[in-house]
């Protein structure tokens, strides 16, 4: 080393070094320039593009779901409201991380394989990789707490509250209000682009009943907000917001107390009750019993729950008042009588002699009146009034056959028979009010005289739903004005006008005759439902009916003991009250209850007592015997006390005035 150093040319070395420094400095300058140019290019030339990209990273538009409109009964009682439900969402685009998160979640809260299956399905359908995917609905307070405590370990897990439907009366209004449920894939597929936008923040849709038919006004208008999200999709803050518009509230004609009364009376039975406000067509009560709890459907019903409802022999999911079709039997007799009067085939006083059976002219077939089996004879001399009161078939067979099928089938349209009532909930059925054309179309056969015989007492091909029965009754009570039955009275603060569907112009005395006949049913000495009017505080009109559940062979003796319970006749009853100025029309159908007057009529009485006198029954209250409603007893007691008090006061007043006058006399 030392030797070499002596030979070194330090000057030349230094010059060489300075040279190299210059070369390196130049090289650095070039490289530094490219860096500067690169940053200039990114930050100045392409600034706009990257600024936009950065904003797109940061700001996301989120829909803000509107609050669904509430549903109230006629007295402002809340029938459907919204309550928060907590849903656990998972945000993830990394399968390995997701597996770890799910494993941890499984130790904290209950996650079923069904939940996981739905989660992966929803994950596949999300629009953006960082969209939250729902994993578990209806978290309990405890589960929320457990997730919250472990939040730091659960990246991308969030619990969000959303408002879901709640039905405080549970099964009471299930068939009327229906329910909301998760929007299905099929429903999304059928959405218009405008609907896709409207439902962008909403997870539920009306599936049934009023919830479905008034979906449009209940839903409201979706709002939106710009939110700042981080790279994992978590919302850091809300930048600005357009508030959603709440859905309109619905005010119904329904009276929750009347609905409750009907349910109380129906307990242990199967059937339907419909009560209509005569002057508007508003539905006061509509019960299909047994019913179900619509809350089960709101966030998705579990498979066992659904199976239990669906396989129940009493078919709680089946809406009897809207969809069950029965032969109306004798309940159509008032309409038949009116048709006879209207078309001049009978008059108010015309009477026939009934021997208990009827034969068509030139036919050997015997049509037996129900009284034949009971007393061995007929009703004797019957006119229209007593024929309705005693439910004499012979009178109407004779009237019907003379009138003919064409008059009958045409006349039915005044009462909405065989037609959709136009009620404001979906899936109504229209029954059958036959005509020659109908039979040719449906059965491929000509109309036989025997068909006319059956039809004139509401048997044979005739089918009606309880809601149709109620509309028919209300039309009679309204003297021919037929309103469209409606549940909704008011949307928001916008009242809906009653809709007149048809109007029958005929003589007042005809209506009076029908009313008298129907009042006789309830109040007359031989009225079929005379027991039901015991201790009545108003006059009512009614008509019973029996619908055969199975056909009974000619000459076969009807013996209910031999038939299984399910094969017994259905009991029907229609009624309205007060007779002088009708307010409420009721139709009752009890499956396999046999006696229209004995079984169904008391239900109608309870409904009218409740509506007209305020004798409501609680859902689980003991149903008192007819005329012995506790409220009636209390009312009578109060009246008695008030009378006694008034009498005492009158007496005291008389005494004091006497003493005043005597005092004045002393003063003088």
């Amino acid at each position: 080393m030392q030797e070499e150093q002596q030979f070194k040319d330090y000057q030349r070395e230094a010059k060489l070094f300075r040279n190299r420094i210059l070369v390196m400095a130049g090289f650095m300058l070039i490289l530094a320039s490219t860096v500067v140019y690169r940053y200039y290019d990114l930050q100045i030339v392409n600034h706009e593009e990257y600024a936009t990209q950065s904003e797109r990273n940061r700001v996301h538009v989120q829909p803000v779901p509107p609050t669904r409109g509430l549903i109230f009964d006629r007295n402002g009682e809340l029938l459907a409201d919204n309550k928060p439900s907590f849903t656990l969402y998972v945000i993830s685009n990394n399968q390995a991380e997701l597996d770890i998160t799910l494993d941890l979640l499984k130790t904290l809260i209950d996650i079923t394989p069904v939940d996981l299956e739905k989660f992966y399905k929803a994950k596949k359908q999300r629009r953006h990789a960082l969209d939250p995917v729902p994993l578990r609905y209806r978290l309990t307070e405890e589960e929320i707490a457990r997730v919250a405590v472990n939040q730091h370990l659960l990246e991308g897990v969030e619990v969000n509250a959303e408002l879901v439907r709640n039905y405080p009366y549970r099964d009471l209004f299930a068939h009327v209000i229906g329910y909301t449920g998760r929007i299905s894939e099929k429903e999304v597929g059928a959405f218009t682009p405008e609907q896709v936008q409207r439902y962008s923040g909403t997870h539920s849709i009306g599936k049934n009943g009023i919830e479905r038919s008034y979906e449009d006004v209940l839903l409201g208008q979706v709002g939106s907000q710009n939110v700042e999200t981080n790279a994992r999709g978590r919302v850091m803050r809300v930048l600005d917001r357009i508030d959603p518009k709440q859905g309109s509230d619905l005010h119904l004609y329904l009276d929750a107390r009347l609905q409750e009364t009907a349910t109380a009376v129906m307990r242990g039975r199967r059937g339907a009750v419909v009560a209509i406000d005569v002057k508007t067509g508003g539905v006061l009560a509509a019960v299909s019993y047994p019913s179900f709890d619509p809350n089960l459907f709101v966030t998705g019903i579990s498979v066992p729950n659904y199976r239990a409802l669906n396989q129940d022999i009493d078919t709680p999911l089946f809406n009897r008042f809207l969809q069950a079709q029965y032969p109306p039997g004798s309940t159509v007799k008032p309409v038949m009588g009116l048709a006879g009067l209207y078309h001049g085939f009978t008059d108010v006083n015309r009477a026939i002699a009934d021997r208990g059976f009827y034969t068509l002219p030139g036919s050997s077939r015997i049509y037996r009146d129900w009284i034949l089996a009971k007393t061995g004879g007929g009703h004797g001399m019957v006119n229209l009034k007593s024929a309705i009161a005693e439910s004499c078939n012979t009178y109407f067979w004779d009237l019907g056959v003379r009138m003919g099928i064409d008059h009958m089938s045409k006349f039915g349209s005044h009462f909405g028979l065989g037609m959709l009532t136009g009620i404001d909930i979906p899936s109504e059925r229209k029954g059958v009010w036959p005509s020659r054309e109908w039979k040719r179309g449906a059965k491929g056969q000509a109309w036989y005289p025997g068909d006319t015989v059956n039809m004139s007492v509401g048997q044979g091909f005739v089918l009606m739903t309880p809601i149709q029965l109620a509309v028919m009754t209300a039309t009679i009570a309204n003297r021919g004005v037929r309103y469209r039955p409606q549940f909704v009275r008011q949307i928001g603060d916008q009242p809906l006008a009653p809709i007149v569907e048809s109007q029958l112009e005929t003589k007042s005395e005809y209506w009076d005759a029908i009313y008298e006949g129907m009042a006789e049913v309830m109040h007359g000495a031989r009225g079929t439902a005379r027991r039901v009017s015991e201790r009545a505080e108003y006059r009512m009109a009614g008509k019973s009916g029996t619908a055969q559940a199975v056909g009974i062979a000619q000459n076969a003796k009807y013996n209910s003991a031999l038939l299984k319970e399910r094969h017994r006749d259905h009991a029907l009853f229609i009624a309205f009250a007060p007779v002088e100025a009708p307010q409420i029309a009721v139709a009752v159908m009890l499956e396999n209850a046999e006696g229209g007057s004995s079984q169904a009529a008391p239900v109608a009485r309870a409904m009218m007592d409740a509506h007209l006198l305020g004798y409501y029954l609680g859902q689980d209250e003991f149903v008192p015997p007819l005329g012995f409603h506790p409220a009636a007893i209390i009312k009578r007691a109060n009246n008695y006390i008030a009378e006694r008090k008034a009498a005492r006061e009158a007496q005291a007043a008389a005494q004091s005035s006497a003493s005043v006058s005597s005092a004045a006399a002393v003063g003088n």
Binding site: E13, A14, F17, I21, M28, Y39, Y50, R58, E228, T229
Partner: protein, 384 residues
């Protein structure tokens, strides 16, 4: 200070020294360089506060490392340059031994074995090599005829090759490039003949294909491919580049403001506090901020090269030039990779990125620069 040096001192020159120069000389501090480093320290801590998500703890930790680094720098500055030269072989051999130890005992982090734990102290031996290698090569070449002859060039390449290979094995491509660069720089400044340089460039280009196919790891190949087209895998390996370019570009001329960078604040930018910190700075302070930083860096490098040029002995000259130009390579590679010009190799932005060992090693380098800068004033050149 040796006796010989003392005798050679020019008494008449002493009066020309200012008070400050004398102070600098006595303390072995280059005040100009110190001022620049302090400016970078302040900028670094400010940007780190924002980039770490307002985490005061990590800023405090970084400040502690800076404190250690400054102490290290002042300490190293006191070491006589000649002593460094004589200690060079031991530093080199020690460094290589530590690198070997890493491959045997090292801690594994993020798929690579880089850390060595001694007691409660954890450090990367490759950082030591960043200084030990140029010292060793400068020491080796300072005793030879310059420009170096072929056999010396081969020997130097051998000295470079051993630690570089060990670091590649860890694997840590970024550091191995920097270590090799620091050695090659010495060779370049020693006056390596241009024909050797030309030959090296040709060989390098020719070996690209075998390197690609046989020597590179999958993730390294992926980084190169990603740099060429980040949009190919926008959610995977391309994510970093797309997000850092977005961060830089959205900063514009004057930036979004301190702690207002949405790309970093909302976690779109990965590694925002370490290798990609320049993206945070670009987003928050814009092109003006970047130019300010580059100006300070440029002044540091120029100061370093001036120290090299003014150094009167070969060892100091080569070492100072190598340290300064390696510092440039740091800045260039980091800013290039973050802006998508170069593949992503883990090179931090010097003095700004979070990381303890790297900062201490850098400051040790500046300590050497200061030692060289303050030494030559006391030593008479052989030309007198």
């Amino acid at each position: 200070m040796s006796r010989q040096d003392f005798l050679r001192r020019m008494p008449e020159a002493a009066s020309a020294f200012s008070r400050r120069a004398r102070l600098a000389e006595r303390l072995h501090i280059d005040f100009f360089l110190l001022a620049l480093l302090m400016a970078l320290t302040v900028i670094g801590l400010l940007v780190l506060y924002s980039a770490s998500g307002h985490n005061l703890l990590s800023v405090e930790k970084q400040a502690t490392f800076f404190a250690i680094a400054y102490v290290t720098m002042f300490t190293v500055a006191q070491i006589p340059v000649d002593f460094m030269r004589r200690m060079a072989p031991f530093a080199y051999v020690g460094g290589v031994i530590l690198l070997v130890a890493v491959t045997i005992f090292g801690n594994v982090a993020m798929g690579a074995q880089r850390w060595l734990q001694i007691g409660g102290f954890r450090f990367q031996p490759s950082e030591i090599m960043k200084l030990a290698l140029p010292i060793a090569i400068a020491a080796y070449l300072s005793g030879r005829f310059l420009p170096p002859r072929f056999k010396h060039v081969v020997a130097v390449l051998g000295l470079i090759g051993v630690p570089t290979a060990l670091i590649i094995e860890q694997p840590d491509l970024g550091t191995s490039i920097l270590v090799a660069t620091s050695g090659i720089m010495v060779l370049f400044f020693s006056g390596l003949l241009w024909r050797y340089i030309a030959a090296a460039v040709v060989i390098f280009l020719a070996s690209l294909w075998p390197i690609w196919h046989f020597m590179m790891h999958d993730y390294q190949r992926q980084r190169v491919l990603t740099m060429l087209d980040p949009t190919q895998d926008p959610l995977g390996t391309g994510w970093n580049i797309i997000q850092s370019k977005t961060a830089i570009g959205s900063g514009g001329l004057s930036g979004k403001g301190w702690m207002e960078g949405t790309q970093s604040r909302l976690d779109f930018l990965p590694e925002g506090h370490t290798d990609f910190i320049i993206a945070v700075m670009s987003e928050e302070f814009g092109l003006l901020g970047v130019l300010l930083l580059l100006t300070i860096y440029a002044m540091v490098i120029i100061r370093g090269l001036m120290i090299a040029v003014n150094s009167q002995n070969t060892f100091g000259r080569l070492l100072a030039a190598s340290i300064s130009s390696t510092f440039f390579v740091y800045v260039f590679v980091n800013m290039g990779m973050v802006s998508g010009m170069l593949p992503v190799v883990g090179v931090p932005l010097p003095l700004i990125s979070q990381g303890g060992t790297a900062i201490v090693a850098l400051f040790a380098g500046f300590g050497i620069l200061m030692a060289i800068s303050t030494e030559k004033k006391r030593v008479m050149t052989p030309q007198g």
